[in-house]
Each structure stands twice: as structure tokens, then as C-alpha cells.
Symmetry: D2
Subunit: 331 residues, 4 copies
């Protein structure tokens, strides 16, 4: 029973179906009808005009988006445990040509205006120190926490006040929206760009860079090609995304994953390191407890010495989550 | 009848099959059994130990390979019409951190030792001019020409003599091997790295970076991740490649494409701009002749004002090629 | 008798004097009164508001200026023999983060609108090819030729029409202005940025980046620091520049150098490879003729196998130029 | 009475003298006799063969040195308050093409093996996280503290054990050696590279990159040119350095500066934030105390709200230091 990661999960049947439907030759690169439809699909979803492009990984999506708001000599404020800082192998330094990540603190890997100010206020004006150009937040966060619409708005206000761009790493954006019960638009507030994740949620190899600042779209197009991310059979990526948006598959998959995580979370509420607000559960437990769970067939990551991380993928089976919950209760 | 490009062609049924077979969860990134098998598969094919990694585009494959042999302050000698110079949006400048392409001449986009020497000999030693670090050739070339094994060897010798790396852009490597009738090993000579293309030849989204210098593999691994090219469901890319290698599908597909191109080439032998040695045909013809062909249902690219380019994909139908040949003869 | 280069010439006494006067402590970096005066000094000289910053080399000045008008994914059109292409070790690739130089042809290393169009018109729109962002010309050119004001204007018009920036590499700008007999303003036309050279003309280690687009000044300030070019005792650079501007020392030095070159040029008018319009003379002559001149004590560079290059520095002695002229006539 | 900084201090008369002596034309760039002598001079000083090149700023020297030991995908461990992290405007990100600084803690901006291990041990092996390639320490530190030879040795051992390079930012290396009373060689231990500062210590515009790994020299030469730091009249930089080495001027100047700082330090021993081991004094004091000192004619930096920083330059006058000491005592 797999609770290791949502990263390697299977591909949803409807995604497979859409990919097959896209097999017949159309135009190369992003000249096909599927790719061309993305702007409209996401504009409909967010209720305002936006531009949307596919990219094969969250790292590429994040970096392409950030490059529209941070120049090489600038910095991006993000959480000390943000994925772009910790798990992207320095990709922001590559895509942003040496720009710096400026690390802020915050409970549950969630940034607050105070946390951001604590980083940017001490920066001396002038050329000797790297000046902030943008803020990046992760929705849902690296610890499965979500920004409420008013929290996004507060960060947005600060960003605007200081002339900074705002980017959202939404590798698990669907899980956040599913949990918050708000609209996709409310979950992004007035961010300029969103990396909208689909791969962890049932797609195979397509994330979307959603740009609410339309003037940034050309830059992303050029930079995507320059980064070797303009696939010649791009229709297969676009088709995945369209399938995920169709009939709210993205939301339904995320709800299923969240439900499984919630099931597990309820079983260990007194052991939780973070409230369960998406599809991840971080639970305090000893090495021998983890061993006991593994013996019962559950797979998951150790989280340091005294904890475990369970991730429910879109196709997590309810009975597995129930079983895991029971196993935890019996520890 | 499609002779526009091999770039957007359909995916081969066996590739689809292999991808479906890879759907069941295995490890994320390149920890899966398919990805792990690549080194061995390519070592078998080339008859010597090599390391092989998937990448989603030829541009990424080329640039990741080149970055193992050219430092940021160096230069890569390539043909003035090489894909890396003309059609990759400056990706080598991005991946190689500002390194320069040093442009050589040569009939049919084929480099010769003399052509390379004409570029590198005038470079003054010392720090004022960009020094060459590597040579990149395209097999088959941008005009559908192939380097004979002895021609690759001659370039190799020059590279070794001057301490330069040698990279082969093999976006259509299969077509070259199919035409040359030699082994894959003979077609690469002693190059350090090959970008082995599968996408134009029946795959969906996977090329291979093949490294004959094993010490370069780690660098490519780190740089691939850093470029956002380490896909979390990498097994789907590896599976495509393995399917293409299985039963020589890569060779069979290329043979079919070459045969279709040869059919067309025979029909217009006196109009040819370049000998037909792969799956591309460059033919002199007037605008009205092109119009006449298009009226008969053939699609293809104009090549400047006085020529046309026909590309036969792996699934080009023989009858279409025959029909095109007849139409050309009747012009 | 030295006609090798103006590059290593002595420092003018008035520059020394100004440097000594700047010794007393003032503010560090560019906070001193000398550095702060530059904007006004150059605004006076050019008759319009501009921003001016010192830099220690022409390479740094050129690259800092170009970085204000060409993004990493773009290209800068320049002459195939431009200093930025041939003699700056790939610095534009470094400072512009991988942007490309797009090489144009032109007699005497002088670009024309037609020469520029021949480079940019064939570039396909779209993301596959590097799009031009700027044009860079050299005034005086690498062969000692000058753009007449109307020629600068023609290039400027083309640049504006195509939305491109215009940069002037003015390593020998003083020599150009001295020859043209026009104002400094006329010699730059509506370029956005000028690298104004002083080092070859009597200074020790200071060039100026002159920005006619004031909005670019901050970017140059940040990038200069980031490139390690913000010297802590910057007053010594600013003082050099102010001394050079004082009483038209820059023009007088350039006139002296030009006069010496003209003297030599007159002596070999039938051997000239390029008209002598600045302080350089390119003369056809055989190896044995060059040997004969060297035996008489003249030092200069061989220019390929069949020519010599003589450069008159600001302190070239008239009698040496006369002597060289006579020696040439007697060959 | 100036205790603001050593950064903008006057130039030592012997340095002026040496610069004048270098005025007569020699070779351009670093082909002159002064530049060529540097290797030998520093080899003599350090008692082992080394290569030495001039650079106009400490930032350039640091970054050129670091680029020899950290690839673009790697990281450099340094103190959270290291100059390269805090005051170089992101220059390491530029010169190292996006490499990352990995921030360690340590009293007085001094790194310890434990502090370094606390940063590098948690880094997971593999491609997802930036791997350390080098360590950089500052001797004397940003708080005027010095590494004892055995402390440098301990860091060196760790570096060797982990396969990391070791760089020393020696902007105030002279002050460290003067304080430690050891040889220059003992103060660098087995570091591969040292940025040896002269500008704060009496020179005008020349620092030295000293490479104990001779194989790195060519890379620094190419990168220096590519960064626009190869000055055409480089002899003026080399001459400054040679003058500073001559007769131990570097040591004598540093001793004088240290003595002045020690004088001040003695006067406020109970207010000191850090032991005074070089030419900087960090002293706790209130805003009104600072105001009182300023009224008596002392200039210095506020260090946050509750402290002041005094820096004694090479030409700090003993009587000024004594006067400041008395003024502090009387607060």
C-alpha cells in the first residue's frame, strides 16, 4: 500500500484517452489545436484573461514563471523549505542567470507578510546587496498547508506595495483548491503567475505555466524553447492538461487524494506535525513504529528520525487509507 | 499527403504499448527499472560501455551533451547551418553559460577537417579570443547527408589532435545508420557523446543522451535536473526508448522513411539540391510548380523561393511517396 | 619608435595630476564628488541629459551597455570584425547571459542599413531563432573608419523601425569626433548608449558608459557592482575622465594621434587598405619591407602576411611619424 | 577623524611612486615585466610555487578564484555574513553561472568544521539538491577575527576529506598576518586560492588572485578577460602590488592599522562585541553616545541600533586613535 509519493503515480485513464486522441498529426511544437486552446481554458477557469503554456516539469514551470519577474541581479523571496530552494538542484539560479533566493521563515512552510518583511526590510538599498524582485509561495505548501484567500491577498498587497512580482508554485494547487473549497481564482489572488501542477494529480508529463500578466507570455515562450522545453509533439502535453480540466477531473482527483490523507490524519491527530490540508500527512512516530507499519505493507518516507510522511496520490484507495489509519491507531 | 516534417508524426503502436506497460507505479524520476536499463541497452548497441539518459527534446539532449565538453569561456565548432546554431533559440548559449558557436562551412551542412581548420586555425592563442573546446556534427546532416565512417574518423582525429571534444547531433541518427548500412558504432566513431533521436522516428517525447565518456554522466545527471528535465514519471520516457530499440524498431522505422524519401528523390534526380541519404529531399522547383503539387494534396515546406523540402516520416506511406514522385515527374 | 598600439601608451600628465588631486579621502565607490559629477559633464558635452558611469575597460563598458538593450534570449547585430565579436573573449556571452552576436558584413568594419537587414531579415519570427534586440557599431571602426552623422542616423532609423537598441563602441570615439569635425552629439546620433573610450587616448584605467536612455542607468549600476567593477576608490577613475574632458584634452589628444596617422597615411596612400580616418593605418607591404622598417627602429603589428598596422597613440611624436613616412616612401 | 572605512583611504606614496615608474610604455595587458613578476614574488612570499594575477576589486578576485573550484551546478559553503554573500551584489551567482552559496553559522563570522558540517551533512546525495563544491573563509573575518593556523588546517582537512576546494577571501589578509605573527604561508594553510587584498591597505586599484593550484591559472586568465577585467595598462596594477610587497609595506601598513584599532579596542574592552584582531572595532554604544562621539569629530558607521563600527585604515593617525579611545572612555 503506497503512500510514498504522488510523484510517480499512474496516469488517469481519461488522460491516456486524450493522448491517444491527439495522436493523429496536427501541427508541431505548440501550433496544434490543443496547445492553442489552453489560453481560453484557463481564462475560463480563472474568470479573467490569462495565457497558459505547458511544460514537462514543475521545476521548468516554476523557473520559466520566475524569470518573468526577477532579473539576473535580483532576488526571489521564498520559504527556507520551498521546493525551489531545496529540491530543484539550483534550477532557479540557472534559469534566472544567477539571481538569488532570499529565504524567509514561516510555520508549515507558509510565508506571512511579517516573514517576508523580516527578509527584505534589512536589505540595504543600493547596489551592494541583492534587491528583492519577486516573492514565490507554494500552494499547497511543502508541508501540505494552504494559504487562505485572505492570506494570499495579504502577501499580494505587500508585493504590490514593494513593487515585487508574486509567483505561486502550485505543484499541488488542485489539492489546495479542493481543500479550501474556494474558486481557483480565489486561491491565486492577484499573483502574476502560477505553476499549475497536473503530474502529481493524474497527468503524465504536463504542468501549466499560467500567466495573469499577459505581457509576460512571449518571454516564457522564448525561454521555454531556449531551455529545450518546447517539445515537437507538444499536442500530447496540451491534451493531458485539457483532459485534466475537462469535467473538473483535476478537482475530483485532488478531492480523492485529500480524502485519503484526511482519513489518515484523523487516525493520528495527536501525532500530527502539521494540520492536514492537502494530500500529505506528517506524523511523529518512532523508528520501531515505522518498522511496524512497513511490516504491514505500508510504504512511506521517513521524515528525519522521529517522523514519517504519507502522501496520498490521486488514485489512493480508500480501503488502504482506512487500513493505514487503523494500523496507526494500533501502534 | 504529409511531407512537411517528421517532427509531429504519430507515435508508433509499439511505443504506445510500452508506455502503457510502464504505467504501474515504479520509482519516480529515473529510479525505475526502464531508466536503469538504458546504460546496458545502449552499451549492447554500441558494443562498448556507455551511459545513456533520456531527455524530452533534441535541444536538451544536444545542450546537455555539449556542456560536458565545452566550458563557458570556450567555443563549439559547428556548421553554419547546424540545428544548434539555427534552430535552437540560443539554447547552447543558455546551457553552456555563454559559450560561443564557431561557424564552419561545408557542402550539405557536412563538416570536413579542412572546414574545421579554417575556423580554428586563425584563432589567436591567448585570452583575447574564444578558444575551441569541442566540435559538433549532425548525423544525418541538416540537408539529409551522412558522414561516412571514415569521415567521422577524420573529424575525430582532428578533434583528438587539437584536444577538442566531439559531439554528434543525431536527431536523425537512425536514418543515417539505415542509409550507411554500417553499425551504430561505426556511425559515431570515437565521438564522446551522441544525441540519439527517437521522436522524429516514432517515439513521443524521448531522446537519448549517449555518453561514451562515462565520467561525463554525473554532470549530465545534475545538469538535467537543474534544467528542469528530470521528469518525475521518467519511466514513460525510458519505456519509449526501450521500445524503439527492441527488435530494431528504430532501424526499421528509419528504413521505411528513407525508402519513401528515396522514391521521391529518384523522381526528381535532376532537380536535387543534395543527394538523398536520409529521409529528406531538397528539390529545386518554382512557386507555380509548388502550387501545382499542393493542389494535388501534397504538403511540404517552401525552401526559400526556388525550392521545396519534403520530409518522409517513419509512417510515410509508400503509395504517397510514389504519387508524389509521379506528380513531380509530371511537373 | 612605437606604432604598435595606443593601448599601452603612457598616461597624460594632466590625468596624473587629477588622480593625485583625488587622493584625499572622499566617499568610497562612486559616492565621491568626481563620480557624481560625471552625469553633468557628459550632459554638457552631448547637449542632452545623460547618465555616465566609469568602468575599467572597454570590454566592461561595452557589455554593461549592451546588457541594457539585449535580453539573454536575444541577439546583438554587429560587424563580423567588431571588437565585441573578435577580441573580447566571449564577454558579451557572459554579461548578456548567453545572448548571441549576429554577424553582419560591411566595408572597413562599417555597418550599413543594408548589411544589418541582410542579417535580420532572414530571421524567422517565432521562438526557434534568436531574435535581434540591438545593434552595436564601432565609432571609429576596427579599421579606423568613421560613421558620418548621416550614416549613424540611417542605422538609428533602422534600429527604431525594428524596435532595436543602438549601442556605440567608442573605444576611439575621440578620434572619430576629431576627424569628423562634428560635435560629440552628432557622432552618436540617437544611440541609446555609448562606450566612450579614454584609456587609449591618455587615461590610465577609465572608460565611460554614457547612457542617453536614463532609465537604463540603474541597471548598469547594479550590473557593474555584480561584475566586480565597482571599485572602492572609484574617485581615481572619475578623476581621470574629468581631466580628459577638461579643456577638451580628449579632443586635443585625439587630434594629435590622428595627425600622426595622417602623416603616415599620406606617405603610403597607394598602399592603403582603408582610408585613414582616425589614428590607425593599415598598409599593404611585404615581409621584407616590414623587416626593413623594423631595422630602422619602427615597431608595429604584422597584419596577416601582406600588410602592417600602425597605430599612433595620443603621444606619438610628429618627428617619428614623419620619419616613418619617409621610411615607407623609400621602401 | 576618519574611522568610517579603510576602503576609500589614500594611496601610499610608495605605491604612487611605483605607478609613475611604470608609466613608460611596456607591453599591454599583462605582458609587462611587472605583471610577469607576480608569480615569482608571491611564490617567494608563500615559500611554494604559485600563480598570481591582479584584479581591480576584491569581488572580482573572489569570484575568479571561486570559479576555479565550483561548477555552475554546485555550491560554495560560506558564513552567513561573508562578504561574498552579503556585500557583493550577487557577483558569485554571476561569475559561477548560478552556483549557490550555502550558508553556515559561526561566532564572529568565523567558520568551524562543525559549522560547515552542519550545512553539508544534511544535503542529500543525488541530483535534487545542490552539492557543495568548495568552502570560502574570510581571513580576517567580516568582524575582524582571524583564523589561527590550526583553525585553517582544520577547515582544510575537512575540505580535503569531502573533496571540496578551499578559498580564502583575504581582503584584509595583511591585517590577519600582522596580528597572527605567523608567516603568510601559515595563514593560508593548504587553501587552493587566496584573494589577497591590497586596496584597503594602501594600494589604489589592485588585488591579487593567488593560486596555489597552478592548473587553475589558465582558467582565471581566460575568465578575467571575459569579465572585462584584463586592463590594457595592467602594468599599473602590477606595479601597485609589487610596491606593496617591497620591504613588507603590506605588513607594515597592516600593523599600523591594527595598532590603531587595538588602541581603540583597549579603551572599550567591556563594550566590545568581538575581540579586536585586525583593524576593525565593533563596540556596543547607544545612539546618544554615537552622537556625542560624532560631535567630537569622529566619523564611523552605526552598526544597527546599538553599536558602532570603527575601522582604522593603513594611514590612521595614532593621535586620532588615542583621542577616540579617550572619548570612548569618557562616554
Amino acid at each position: 500500500m503506497q503512500f510514498l509519493s504522488d510523484n510517480a503515480a499512474s496516469v488517469h485513464p481519461k488522460v491516456w484517452e486524450a493522448m491517444h486522441a491527439a495522436d493523429a498529426v496536427d501541427a508541431p511544437y505548440d501550433g496544434d489545436a490543443f496547445s492553442k486552446a489552453l489560453d481560453e481554458r484557463f481564462s475560463d477557469l480563472f474568470g479573467r484573461e490569462c495565457a497558459a503554456l505547458w511544460a514537462a516539469t514543475g521545476t521548468a514551470a516554476n523557473c520559466l514563471a520566475l524569470a518573468t519577474m526577477c532579473e539576473p541581479q535580483g532576488g526571489v523571496v521564498c520559504h527556507r523549505e520551498a521546493h525551489i530552494e531545496v529540491d530543484e538542484a539550483g534550477a532557479p539560479g540557472f534559469y534566472l542567470h544567477g539571481a538569488k533566493l532570499l529565504l524567509a521563515e514561516g510555520e508549515g512552510a507558509i510565508l506571512t507578510p511579517d516573514g517576508v518583511r523580516a527578509v527584505i526590510d534589512p536589505i540595504r538599498e543600493g547596489v551592494h546587496q541583492v534587491q528583492p524582485h519577486a516573492i514565490s509561495i507554494t500552494q499547497a505548501s511543502e508541508y501540505g498547508r494552504n494559504y487562505r484567500p485572505e492570506e494570499v491577498a495579504a502577501i499580494s498587497s505587500l508585493a504590490e506595495e514593494r513593487g515585487l512580482g508574486l509567483h505561486i508554485d502550485g505543484a499541488r494547487f488542485a489539492n489546495a483548491v479542493a481543500f479550501l473549497g474556494c474558486s481557483a481564482a480565489e486561491a491565486v489572488g492577484s499573483a502574476q503567475a502560477l505553476s499549475f501542477g497536473f503530474i502529481k494529480n493524474g497527468a503524465m508529463s504536463a504542468e501549466a505555466v499560467v500567466l495573469f500578466d499577459l505581457s509576460a507570455a512571449d518571454l516564457v515562450r522564448y525561454r521555454r524553447k531556449r531551455a529545450g522545453h518546447l517539445q515537437s509533439k507538444g499536442r500530447f502535453l496540451a491534451a493531458q492538461i485539457i483532459a485534466m480540466l475537462e469535467g473538473d477531473l483535476w478537482l475530483n482527483n485532488a478531492r480523492a487524494a485529500n480524502a485519503a490523507a484526511a482519513e489518515i490524519g484523523h487516525a493520528c491527530v495527536d501525532r500530527l506535525m502539521h494540520p492536514v490540508e492537502a494530500n500529505e500527512v506528517f506524523m511523529r512516530c518512532t523508528a520501531s513504529e515505522r518498522e511496524a507499519l512497513r511490516k504491514q505493507g505500508f510504504s512511506f518516507y521517513d521524515w528525519g528520525d522521529d517522523a514519517a510522511r504519507f502522501v496520498a496520490a490521486w488514485n489512493a484507495r480508500e480501503e488502504d487509507a482506512v487500513a493505514l489509519g487503523k494500523a496507526i491507531v494500533s501502534l
